[in-house]
Symmetry: C2
Subunit: 339 residues, 2 copies
């Protein structure tokens, strides 16, 4: 049986009231007594029963994911996993919800954030680009005692674990290494595509990509980034143009989550087979991998992302340190064999 507070009181030679004071940091305890209790804790290996603590405190957790309102398949996958997490975290007294917002409008987003009530929301995960407005709003949330993590987007603050997502520089580097290896020594140009280069993550990926290609694959030349803006016709025009100028394109790297448009359009304009690498696991990319339309997917486990964000928020509220090895989001390489 695990020792209880009562056992601890006996071991430390104090009363339950004093144990309570020490455990909960209440005032009016001599330093000597605190030490005595802490030593007893070490000796008998006392660990608070979190379930009982939360029960007595009537604590529950209400978390919210703020996601873009316009979305591709990857967002649908995320929403699905949030629903799943909602069920599995119900056991731990955590309620999880998702809200779709026009995250690209910093003012609307900031307004929404200021409207959040600390009574009904203990933590939020925000998937939105950086902006001064949002940064301020986040700081005000923190002041009001609402925990925040940046989810997939935004500028991660170094050293803190307030960002949930992969290291995008490393992700770009990984893509580059794969394109390099898969090219098997052939020379050629690499077409690099993104929905937009405004996003911080695309910029990071591009930097990581170029670093590896330039260092390790002198035979490959990455072209300047091309933006689809989610527009099929535009993409087609750009591709036709690029291929006209560079008939020796041998690879495609799609940096943003929405891979459908570039993958479809490139098959219309490219004559020779290319090495194609895209990001994120979605129904489309899965099917494309299986059918051989693309060669590899650089992914982050979306279920893990969601759960990790929740666990980090929860740990912060409980004043615990999340398990670093569990919360590190891995850069997954998917090929058709390990789907």
């Amino acid at each position: 049986m695990r020792p209880t507070a009562k056992d601890l009181a006996v071991e430390a030679g104090v009363s339950l009231a004093t144990i309570d004071r020490v455990l909960n940091g209440r005032p009016g305890v001599r330093p000597r007594t605190v030490t005595k209790v802490n030593e007893a804790i070490e000796r008998i290996g006392f660990v608070r029963n979190l379930a009982a603590v939360n029960l007595a405190r009537k604590k529950s957790y209400q978390f919210r994911f703020l996601l873009p309102d316009h979305g591709d398949q990857f967002l649908d996958v995320l929403v699905k996993h949030i629903e799943e997490a909602k069920k599995s975290f119900a056991d731990e007294m955590a309620d999880v919800a998702a809200t779709r917002l026009p995250v690209d409008d910093p003012y609307k987003l900031a307004a929404y954030l200021s409207g959040l009530d600390a009574e009904t929301t203990q933590g939020i995960a925000i998937m939105a680009p950086e902006s001064p407005q949002v940064r301020d709003a986040i700081n005000r949330l923190l002041e009001r005692g609402i925990e925040v993590v940046q989810f997939l987007a935004g500028q991660p603050k170094a050293g803190s674990n307030d960002f949930v997502g992969i290291n995008n520089h490393a992700a770009g580097a990984t893509a580059a290494q794969l394109i390099g290896r898969f090219s098997g020594g052939r020379k050629g140009k690499i077409l690099v595509v993104s929905e937009t280069m405004q996003a911080h993550d695309s910029i990071e990926r591009r930097l990581g990509f170029d670093a590896v290609i330039n260092r390790e694959y002198p035979g490959l030349l990455p072209l300047p980034s091309v933006e689809t803006r989610g527009d099929t016709a535009r993409t087609r025009r750009i591709f036709e143009n690029v291929f006209a100028n560079h008939p020796d394109i041998t690879g495609l790297y799609v940096m943003s989550a929405e891979a459908r448009i570039p993958v479809r359009e490139i098959s219309m304009v490219a004559k020779a087979p290319l090495v194609k690498i895209v990001h994120e696991r979605t129904p489309f990319t899965e099917a494309a991998l299986k059918s051989g339309k693309i060669d590899a997917v650089i992914a982050q486990n979306s279920g893990h992302l969601v759960r990790s964000a929740i666990r980090i928020l929860k740990a912060r509220i409980d004043q615990r340190t999340p398990l670093a090895s569990q919360e590190k989001i891995r850069i997954e390489i998917l090929i058709k064999e390990n789907l």
Copy 2:
């Protein structure tokens, strides 16, 4: 606020005692009343507060990992993660321990299993090869109410989630695809190495490997599996022999967890650079990836493995269904960029 049993009683128009009878399946309740309560549960979305339940029931979980007593680096990594899990699951009233055993001796292992007491052990994760003795012992454990999962080794029963680990056939296929792609069209022979081919996992990996190589890379010829038996000198002799007979070896696939001996020895006998793929993330394989001594690692996240085993055991004891998407162990491809 979440509805409590009291709220449920009001909603269903019955007393708390009846709620208790229904929730805990006690006898003496009319079917009509049961229906009434269940409908009320649906209506107000009642979910039992697991923390309170476990508190009232004084329930705690004691789990044990049974691991081989002779071990390579991968086992050390596993043990480290078990220690880590021990800390993080303490919050959930679960105690986790690891025991090293001569798992290759079915009689000793079976004897140990029979000696387990259901009072002090609620679940175990076994990493041991299949044998009739062990299979029987496991069945007796289950009869005595001790939950069991097979951990990494053994013959997974189809359809049940009593196996924690990757699909080894797919892992072998993944290795093959990578060797194929990384070879860049060159022809050659592939040296396939294992510590022993007795183990079920090596056999599966080999099958998956051959399937892909034969189907997709006719220019590559996998040689018959070579067994190191953990013996450096033996391995060296075999390698020298093999290279003498097959000077055109262009790739190495190490199927078992211990990659140190084959990777070191091959560098002594191979003249030309090879494509080298090994299994499992360990300090050695990490360093080898970084320094370029190997090209890729097929890994399973060992922290995830451990936590998954614990969660599955816990869910079974609670009569819950574990979250399938979380418990699926992914086949990770590691290169130096995504470590």
